[in-house]
């Protein structure tokens, strides 16, 4: 059976035009999807049943036992942390946050090691953005700064920006100018009209230089800024200003480099500066398919996009203190529930070591690095394949993922609901 308009749950592009052929409980073929989409749908490496660490080995246990034991661990903990959420649907995220509220736990999502700094920058200066269709239909200048969409969001250029025709651009790739800024010559840089190589850690200075030029202060620019020549800066600024509609996309090259949120703040302020001359928008390239959804759900329930601490009863937010890496680094938490992410692979070693020290429970369809650090892992259905729910694309457009077939695994929502019920019973009214 061929299913049309399937939503890919890999990256923040959330492409919704895939055609997937399904034979019973097996995906047979994927059309229109990139390599990552294909791996996602065709992959067949699920953990078969819940497992529990047993001394130096592992044993299979029932879902009932796994959930009950998880509830006990969480109730016993003084400072539990519920981490992850970007790899699951909004309905599950919602229950997870209420669970944290009930436990007085700290709840954080993967933004913390991704676009958390972008959020901090937005909280300082705002975010002039737009939906991706606005870029597709109008943008004649596209900038990718510190991001390599070809590897991380393969269809971003062909579906939404450089190559996709739009209402006002009938010959898109001829009519658009593509600027790529990076510290290394990525695949994306290979097809750019203008590639700017920046010395590592030099983004802030280059952004400042461009802001100065846009402000008309060319005379103050030194011959070279972080390895970028003055001539190139002038050329790029002129190109930016020549746009009728310019779209800037930025990635972890800004959020993870020295300067972190200040880099992003500078990029947003460049956008705002350009907006005084012509139309400009800026957007973060969100990684996980539903990381933006986790920010949205966190925000409408708690008021904050990530790093929320319920220990005081109220929702308390102080990134740098209530962010997962810091909490783990300080060895502060004494139990961890991981849902839809892999901190074992993506946190610094010291954090992984603390996860191994405390009872860590993982809810995830696949074994991964965190599996080895955990006490219990509960396999669940994969949203977009055998579970469905809401996801938010990187530009904030909410899309309902599809369930392609009913599988044998429970969804994140079902597991978390059962967990919530058990914890609520234990905690009393």
């Amino acid at each position: 059976m061929k299913i049309e308009d399937v939503v890919c749950t890999f990256c923040g592009c959330l492409c919704d035009d895939l055609v997937v052929e399904v034979d019973g409980r097996r995906v047979v073929s994927v059309e229109n999807g990139c390599t990552l989409a294909n791996e996602k749908f065709m992959g067949d490496h699920r953990l078969q049943s819940p497992i529990r660490r047993n001394g130096k080995g592992w044993e299979h246990i029932s879902y009932d036992d796994a959930i009950r034991e998880t509830a006990e661990i969480l109730c016993d903990a003084d400072r539990p942390i519920l981490y992850g959420w970007s790899g699951t649907h909004g309905e599950a995220q919602s229950i997870g946050i209420h669970l944290a509220e009930l436990l007085g736990a700290l709840v954080d999502n993967t933004s913390t090691v991704c676009h958390g700094p972008s959020i901090l920058a937005i909280q300082e200066v705002g975010h002039p953005g737009c939906t991706l269709g606005q870029v597709k239909n109008r943008a004649d200048v596209v900038v990718y700064w510190g991001t390599n969409p070809i590897d991380a969001h393969p269809r971003h250029m062909s579906r939404y920006t450089t190559f996709a025709d739009g209402f006002f651009l009938k010959e898109a790739f001829r009519d658009r100018r593509l600027i790529v800024v990076d510290v290394r010559k990525t695949e994306s840089a290979n097809i750019a009209d203008e590639f700017i190589t920046i010395e590592p850690g030099g983004d802030y200075a280059v952004l400042s230089a461009l802001r100065a030029i846009v402000r008309g202060k060319r005379e103050i620019i030194p011959p070279s800024v972080s390895g970028v020549s003055r001539e190139q800066l002038f050329r790029v600024a002129d190109l930016l200003l020549s746009a009728k509609f310019g779209a800037i996309f930025f990635g972890l090259g800004l959020t993870m480099s020295p300067g972190k949120y200040k880099n992003v703040r500078n990029a947003i302020e460049l956008t705002e500066e350009l907006s005084r001359h012509t139309k400009y928008t800026i957007s973060p390239m969100r990684g996980h398919w539903n990381v933006y959804g986790s920010n949205e759900v966190f925000t409408w329930i708690t008021g904050y996009p990530y790093a929320v601490d319920f220990a005081r009863g109220i929702a308390f937010y102080n990134p740098g203190e209530t962010t997962s890496v810091d909490v783990l680094r300080r060895k502060e938490c004494d139990a961890c529930l991981v849902v839809g992410s892999d901190p074992g692979a993506h946190f610094p070693k010291a954090c992984a070591e603390h996860l191994a020290r405390i009872p860590t429970i993982q809810i995830d369809p696949h074994t991964n690095a965190t599996t080895h650090l955990s006490r219990i892992q509960i396999p669940v259905a994969v949203t977009g394949i055998d579970a469905e729910g809401t996801a938010y694309r990187m530009d904030g457009v909410p899309i309902r993922t599809r369930m392609l077939f009913k599988g044998e695994y429970p969804s994140d929502t079902e597991i978390l609901e059962r967990l919530y019920t058990l914890v609520k019973e234990a905690k009393g009214p």
Partner: protein, 566 residues
């Protein structure tokens, strides 16, 4: 079967013609009935003011831009935090509270129905998700059509029926309630960093004017027989001298419906400015109110501003950028492909700012100078003028001249030269307030038929009992009590169930979402229209089959179906 009896209630129910009688209200299974059995639970209202549940006909509480207002404002979240308590979830926020924060605070003030003022169709799913997390109120969503390409093309072709078909398809796809036009044409122009400045400006590339969009949409709305009228946020919001644009817009309105207004003009305070710069801005509330008084076919809401800190958010992207150029605090913008835009900035309305003082006066003047309370709703365009928790204070200001004078004395002393407020003696009475906070809204929205805004048998048992005794209270002097009383109900009853009592929320709540579906003849079914389908295949970045809001997002949807006259 659950039964409840409210005894000794001092009832004002304007839609039923009850202007202050002490009576009992019987409730069975969530509806008001003639009488209930002996075993019914009893609430003694003790002669307190008892009104139908409050209806807010224009408020921003759920959806993409509201949530972004929270997202970008941790300082606002910190300004209003409550811990989890009983059935109440944690809440955060002052001007843009979390969904539960909104819901609890409205509930405590006796509000049971809220219309979200602006929902971008492409992002409707988000609004509905937040509706589900706003458990104590029945929710409705105004759906944005101001920059809709299909609409503008129909307007250019002078094809009212096609415009109606686009509205019908979209409202039913996104489970919206009514047509919202925010700065019509201006949001599309903002796609190029531009704006329209009067109702006769051309929208770039589309060859239509705001006036043509407004006129076409008014007629399309009536062709679909929708419960509410077109709901407009006029062009040129917040610009000195914009009252002319507002008067021009009022002049466009024909009288096409005998049950309700033909055009609803929202937050009119922001559209009643004289002068030509921020230095000589003045109140033109008298001109506007005169036009409204002469046109029974329009209804307005105040858009009152109140001093202090708040967050402005609107689909009017270009206006927010202009405002940002004034405030230089922080600015967010979010354009939505083929449809609309939006912008958010935090603001502080100050008594030391003459402009802000003039704005404050204009809102009150509009309410006091509009003769018929059914034509003017009480609103702050929450949170743009002020958070809705300021409603009790506004009510007190409208009911007490003395309170107004006391307030005026605190303002920039030049204010009196620019506004007529000091000369207005009128004090509104309990009945006027009842109209302006629930009955008028329910009538204007066209939801009396689904049992909103009144207490006649058959109506939804949404009731607010305030600790106010109109028989013995003089609002003119005891305005502090009025303010306190409207701020915290003794009981808020939602569909026959007590949901809040003396400032505490007592149940988890389960709301409904009211949406409209205009049934059109098959030749107007756009789901198979080649031009319309092309929009999805070529210009939208979401497939047509993934666009409509699935039923699962409306666990308790209430559909108002109409038969279109196409």
């Amino acid at each position: 079967m659950s039964e409840l009896l409210v005894r000794n209630a001092y009832v004002i129910d304007p839609l039923s013609g009850i202007k202050g009688d002490v009576m009992d209200i019987a409730i069975r299974d969530g509806k008001i009935v003639e009488e209930v059995g002996r075993n019914a639970e009893v609430i003694d209202a003790d002669h307190c003011l008892t009104l139908p549940g409050g209806v807010d006909s224009h408020s921003h509480v759920c959806g993409t831009k509201v949530n972004f207002g929270r997202y970008m404002s941790p300082e606002d979240m910190r300004a209003g935090r409550t811990a989890r308590k009983g059935v109440m979830h944690v809440t955060s926020g002052y001007s843009v509270p979390t969904t539960f924060g909104n819901s609890y605070r409205y509930s405590i003030m006796g509000y049971t129905t809220i219309l979200e003022g602006a929902m971008a169709p492409l992002e409707a799913r988000h609004t509905h998700e937040e509706f589900t997390a706003t458990p104590h109120q029945d929710m409705l969503a105004n759906t944005l059509f101001d920059g809709n390409w299909s609409i503008m093309e129909a307007v250019r072709e002078k094809d009212v029926k096609r415009a109606a078909a686009v509205v019908a398809w979209t409202l039913s796809a996104v489970k919206g309630f009514a047509i919202k036009l925010t700065n019509p044409g201006g949001t599309e122009a903002w796609g190029w960093g531009e704006d329209v400045h009067s109702i006769l400006d051309q929208v770039p590339h589309f060859g239509v004017t705001p006036a043509e969009i407004i006129e076409t949409m008014i007629r399309a709305n009536e062709l679909l027989n929708l419960p509410h009228s077109v709901h407009i946020h006029c062009n040129a919001l917040g610009v000195p001298g914009n009252y002319r644009t507002t008067l021009d817009t009022l002049d466009l309105v024909p009288d096409l419906n005998d049950k309700r207004q033909t055009l609803y003009l929202t937050h009119l305070q922001f559209h009643s400015y004289g002068g030509s710069t921020w230095k000589d801005i003045s109140s033109k509330s008298e001109d506007i109110a005169r036009a409204v008084n002469n046109k029974p076919q329009v209804a307005i809401d105040m858009g009152q501003i109140m001093f202090g800190r708040t967050t402005t958010m609107t689909a009017d992207g270009p206006m927010e950028f202009k405002l940002y150029m004034l405030h230089h605090n922080k600015w967010s913008n979010h354009d939505v492909e083929l449809e609309t835009g939006s912008g958010i900035i935090p603001v502080y309305y100050s008594r030391k700012s003459l402009v802000n003082c003039v704005m404050w006066a204009i809102g009150l003047e509009l309410a006091l100078l509009t003769k018929d309370p059914w034509q003017c709703m009480l609103s702050t365009d929450n949170p743009n003028g002020a958070p809705f928790v300021k409603y009790p204070e506004i009510i007190a200001l409208l009911m007490s001249r003395r309170f107004r004078e006391n307030e005026l004395a605190l303002l920039d002393p030049r204010t009196a030269h620019y506004v007529p407020l000091p000369a207005i003696d009128r004090e509104l009475d309990w009945y006027d307030i009842a109209v302006m906070t629930r009955a008028g809204q329910a009538k204007a929205l066209g939801i009396t038929g689904v049992g909103k805004g009144h207490l006649a048998p058959g109506a939804e048992a949404d009731i607010a009992i305030y600790p106010l005794k109109p028989d013995s209270l003089d609002p003119s002097t005891e305005y502090q009590q009025v303010m306190a009383g409207f701020g915290k109900t003794r009981y808020t009853i939602k569909r026959g169930r007590v949901v809040a009592r003396d400032g505490e929320v007592v149940v988890e709540g389960a709301n409904s979402t009211i949406w409209t579906k205009a049934i059109t003849p098959p030749e107007f079914d756009l789901s198979v229209d080649p031009e319309f389908v092309k929009k999805f295949e070529q210009y939208y970045t979401v497939r047509m089959s993934n666009y409509p809001v699935q039923d699962v997002y409306l666990p308790r949807g209430v559909c108002i179906a109409t038969e279109a006259s196409l």
